[in-house]
Structures are given as structure tokens and as C-alpha cells.
Amino acid sequence: MSRPLRKLLDKAGMAVCVLLLVSPALLFFLWMLSLSLKFEIDNGAYPPILIPDRFAWKNYTTIFEGNSFLLYFWNSLIVTGAATLFALVVGVPAGYGIARMKAHKSAVVIMIARMTPGLSFLIPLFLLFQWLGLLGTLWPQIIIHLVVTVPIVIWIMIGYFETTPMELEEAAMVDGATRWQIFAKVALPIAKPGIVVAFILSVIFSWNNFVFGIVLASRETRTLPVAVYNMLSFEQVSWGPLAAAALVVTLPVLILTVAAQRQIVAGLTAGAVKGG
């Protein structure tokens, strides 16, 4: 076999493999997009239609008209924003402390908090929030999202701070910096890519969280995933608006992920190789 042909075949094989691996995720997405742009009649058609003759843009307008979609979007923004911000404020210094003091046991404790199923403490917390009179506000959701966001931030930051060379901090120590100055002026700026990754993952997990919202949210405090779920009614499933809503919910996270893709990959592989 000639060399150019072989190279071509290699490339083709690679492309097929990549397509096979990515296709499930991609197909879901394309089908969702297709659903959101079709009228109900096309959605029920057999054989299924991928690209309709007429686009049903009204699916998108319906979700903004029929529901308090903007309110739910705002709720999601507040809950995710507050839970992520607070997680960063607490988690970054915590990760630094654990990494520098080699407190691996406390890291495991945090991991356990993350692994415990949310439902197991949801009921007691519900009663607690009720007792505190917080139900009906966004506070219960913000607080309970911390269970998800804080461990993520701490774990990513531990990994990141462990890879930053100790000599840099020793140099700062000799240069006359206090512990806080070392953290603020040396460790933190160097850890910026790690913080970005922690931020993005925290946003994704918090934004998509469904279980906490469905239990704790009232009509006015719903977040987007719960709102989408509520579009399903007993009489009828309107696929078009549902898919449109789901896409709108996914969009912010999608944009964020694509925009910060390189940072995420860097963060997920941090510590895999010793940087030179």
C-alpha cells in the first residue's frame, strides 16, 4: 500500500472512531434542536423528520410568553451565581490550606460530603428551612447548592495548588511577605486557570441541579430545570416548546463551556504532568 493512501485511511479511520464516540451526545443535541423547530404535527410524524419544511419559531416565543420564564432564568442566575461565588470565596482558601498543610484527611471528609446523596439530607434541611421561615425565598436553594459547589471548588483547587512549586512561596517568604500576602500576591494569581475551571464546573453543576429545586422551590422561586420539568403536564406533552425550553436552559452553560474549553482541559489535566 502506498504511503499517501495509508495516511488517508488512517485519517478516515480516526474520523469514523471520533464520530462513533461523539455521536450519542451530538445526536441528542441535534434531535433536541430539530424538535424545538418543528410544529407538533411534524414532531409526531412517522418516519421522523429531522429538518422540517416550515420552522416553528413560535415554540421559542411561547416559552417566554406562557411562563414566567424570565423570572425562572433570573432565579437560576441568582442561585447559581451566589452558590458559585460563595464556593469560590470559601473553597479557594480552603483548597490552598489543605494543599499546603497536606491535610488529606480533611480532603476526604469533603469528598464524603460530596458523595452523600443529596436526598438524604434534603428532608431534614427542608424542615429546618421551614422552621427558619426561609421557604418561599431563594436562600434555601442557594445554601443547599453549596453542598455541590463547595466540594468541587475545594477539590479542584487542592489539585491546582499542589502543582504550584513551593519555591515560589519560599522566595516570597524570604522577600518579606506574610502568609496572607503570599496567598494573595503569589499563590492566587498563579492559580488563576485553576480558579476559572473551578468556577465553570461549579456553575455547570449548580445550573443543572434539579433535585434540590424540585423539593425546595415554590412557584415563584423555581429555577430553570424545574421550570422545564413543569412544562410536562398530564394531558399533553408539547415536545416543541419543551425542547425549546431545554435548549434555552442549556445555552448559557454551553456558551460558557465552549468559551472556556481550553481552560477546562488544562484544569482537568493539571498535575498529570510536571510543568517545566
Partner: protein, 365 residues
């Protein structure tokens, strides 16, 4: 500028003692080099002076002030690390001025100090760049600049040249020495490279297994090593050690060859086992000398290095076993030679420059 006094300093990690009671006096303005094989505790000792390691026992004093419990930032020292430890998110100028900015010194004064240090090290055009945009040698210079700017009492260097290539290392060696001659700041420098130690130091401290083997001026260590470790560590190629015994007015090797002692026979030592130490450059051709077979000839241009295998007066022939290889001698001669491997030469050591060691304690007799 300051003196540094290290008194009976110990360091242990749990039950393992890394530094076993070390005392060094460093005078104001002196350039002292701690040298020894890896794991001898020299870097740990330096980090204890810097305050980056706790001191398990004894005292470290800078200018007569015991600093055992003083944090690094209050010791008024500057340190250059092996991997430079430049702040990657700061420009060169910011790297150099970091310590001054922490002290809230006036901006104009900081700029002047950075400019002066940059001038000394030729870093002027690089001040706006980031460390990642610099070569190894330039980074090294920035690390030194960061130390100079502070005008500290003591400079500490932790193997600063070991990441550079051979040519650059020689160049930076000169620069560091020049810098010291210019600033006259007390300097403690750690290296495992004895050539660095010999060429740069006012005073060398040879360490081994957590103790000090000998302290002295470079040539003093070379000429009068206190024991076999120092004799073997200082000087390249290393000193030849020939086991045997003292008898009459000379020394008899295990192979039966007679080596001269030049009348320096220690008292009451007839028949006593000893090790005869002679540097590779202190052999000369001699008709009555010991016979040895040439194994390898390595010309470098300026000199020739030869590996010889003594024939031994008893057997009259060279062996090639493991034991025989241990007995091989190195000879360095300045003049060119046409000796070929397999030939037999007769050489004799200069008795005035030879040393005798106790084979049990390693101490010089």
C-alpha cells in the same frame, strides 16, 4: 553586611538526624561555599540559615542576633533558588521590586534600585518581559537581581548554576564572583560541584553525612586535606589512594612496590598499615619508579590523563579483575606523550606532595 555564626546546629526529621552538630563562623563580607555529595545536608543547612527549615538544636546568629525563631522575612537575607523561583505572573521589573514594594518604599526609590541592579547584571532591556520569555541564563540573572535590589545582610545561593549548560555555568561563575567582589556582601553558597567551590570561595566547608569534614581556604584544602574524604572530594581527577604499609624510611604497597616518603615518616609507625595518597598531577617518570601498564590515554589538548594499572613488584604482571581495577591509578601530565595502551611505564610520586592516611579512621597521619 553581616557575620553569620552557626553553633552546634542539628536537624532531625523524626528519628533521622540529617545534620549532626555543625559549627561554622562566617566573617563579614566572606564568600563561603558549602560543598558535599548529595544528601550531605548542605542545602538543609542553608535553608536553616534562611529560616525555611526549623532548627532542631543549636543556634544560628546573624550579626550576633540569634535568629532561630525569627521568620525569614525578618532576617534581612536574600536567596537565589536552584530553579530561580521567579514569579511567573510578574514582569522582570516587578519580580525584582517585589520585596521593596512589600516594604512600601517610595516608587521613585524602587525604580532607581531596580535600574541599578539591572545595570549591574545587564538586564535593562528585559525589564518589561515575563520570566517565560527569558533564557535560562537570563532567568538566573534576574534571580540574582532580585537579591541585589534588596541590599540584604546575607546572600544565600542554593545550587544556582546546576540548571545551566556547562559553558554558561563557567560564565555565570565569573559573574557571581565579580558581583561579590563589587558588593562585598556576606555570601553562603551551596553546590555539589567542587570546581565551583574551588574557583569561587574564600572559604570552603566540606560536608558529608551531616557533619563537617573540613573548613578551609580552597588551596589549603587541596594541599592539606584533613582526611581521605576531603582528599578524594577536592581536586579533579580525584586523588589516588594506594593501600600498603609503612616500613623503614618508605612505604610498601600491597603489590610490593616501594614508594618514597621523603623522610616524613611518622613516629613509631614501622610496619603499620596506611594509605598513600598522591594527586594525579604529582607523578613523574622515573627509572627506579613503580612499573605500571597503560590502560587508557585521554588527551585533552592542554594535558593528558592516563589510567595505569600497577604491575606489582611481587607478581610482575597486571591483573584485570575487579580488585585490580580498584588499584588503578590516574596520572595527569602537562606534556604530550606517545604512550600507547599496553605499554609499561615507570613512575614515581613526588614525596613532598604525597599524604599518608590511617586506613581505619581515614585521618591524615
Amino acid at each position: 553586611m553581616a557575620s553569620v555564626s552557626i553553633r552546634n546546629v542539628r536537624k532531625s526529621y523524626g528519628a533521622v538526624e540529617i545534620i549532626k552538630g555543625v559549627s561554622i563562623d562566617i566573617q563579614d563580607g566572606e564568600f563561603v561555599i558549602l560543598v558535599g555529595p548529595s544528601g550531605c545536608g548542605k542545602s538543609t543547612l542553608l535553608r536553616m540559615i534562611a529560616g525555611l527549615e526549623e532548627i532542631s538544636g543549636g543556634t544560628v546568629a546573624i550579626d550576633d542576633r540569634v535568629v532561630n525563631d525569627v521568620p525569614p522575612k525578618d532576617r534581612d537575607i536574600a536567596m537565589v533558588f536552584q530553579n530561580y523561583a521567579l514569579y511567573p505572573h510578574m514582569t522582570i521589573a516587578d519580580n525584582m521590586s517585589f520585596a521593596l514594594r512589600l516594604k512600601n518604599i517610595a516608587k521613585s526609590e524602587i525604580a532607581a534600585k531596580v535600574e541599578r541592579a539591572a545595570g549591574i547584571l545587564g538586564l535593562g532591556p528585559l525589564l518589561g518581559r515575563f520570566p517565560r520569555q527569558l533564557s535560562g541564563g537570563q532567568r538566573q540573572r534576574v534571580a540574582m537581581g532580585r537579591a541585589i535590589v534588596r541590599d540584604p545582610k546575607v546572600f544565600l545561593f542554593d545550587e544556582p548554576l546546576s540548571n545551566l549548560d556547562a559553558k554558561l555555568r563557567v560564565q555565570m561563575r565569573t559573574e557571581i564572583k565579580e558581583m561579590h567582589q563589587r558588593l562585598k556582601t556576606t555570601t553562603v553558597y551551596v553546590t555539589h560541584d567542587q570546581i565551583e567551590a574551588m574557583t569561587m570561595a574564600d572559604k570552603i566547608v566540606v560536608m558529608h553525612d551531616g557533619i563537617i569534614e573540613q573548613i578551609g581556604a580552597p588551596l589549603d584544602l587541596y594541599d592539606n586535606p584533613a582526611n581521605m574524604f576531603v582528599a578524594g572530594f577536592i581536586g579533579s581527577p580525584a586523588m589516588n589512594f594506594i593501600p600498603g604499609s609503612i616500613g623503614g624510611d618508605g612505604f610498601t604497597t600491597e603489590g610490593g612496590d616501594r614508594l618514597p616518603l621523603g623522610g616524613r615518616v611518622p613516629a613509631a609507625s614501622d610496619g603499620r598499615p596506611a594509605v598513600y595518597g598522591v594527586r594525579p598531577e604529582h607523578f613523574r617518570l622515573a627509572d627506579e619508579g613503580m612499573a605500571a601498564e597503560v590502560v587508557v590515554v585521554e588527551p585533552t589538548g592542554s594535558e593528558t590523563q592516563m589510567v595505569l594499572r600497577p604491575l606489582g613488584a611481587k607478581t610482575g604482571q597486571a591483573g584485570a579483575g575487579r580488585e585490580d581495577r580498584k588499584r588503578e591509578l590516574t596520572w595527569v601530565l602537562r606534556e604530550r606523550t606517545d604512550a600507547k595502551p599496553g605499554e609499561v611505564v615507570r613512575i614515581a610520586p613526588d614525596p613532598a606532595l604525597a599524604h599518608l592516611f590511617n586506613p581505619d579512621t581515614g585521618l591524615r597521619l
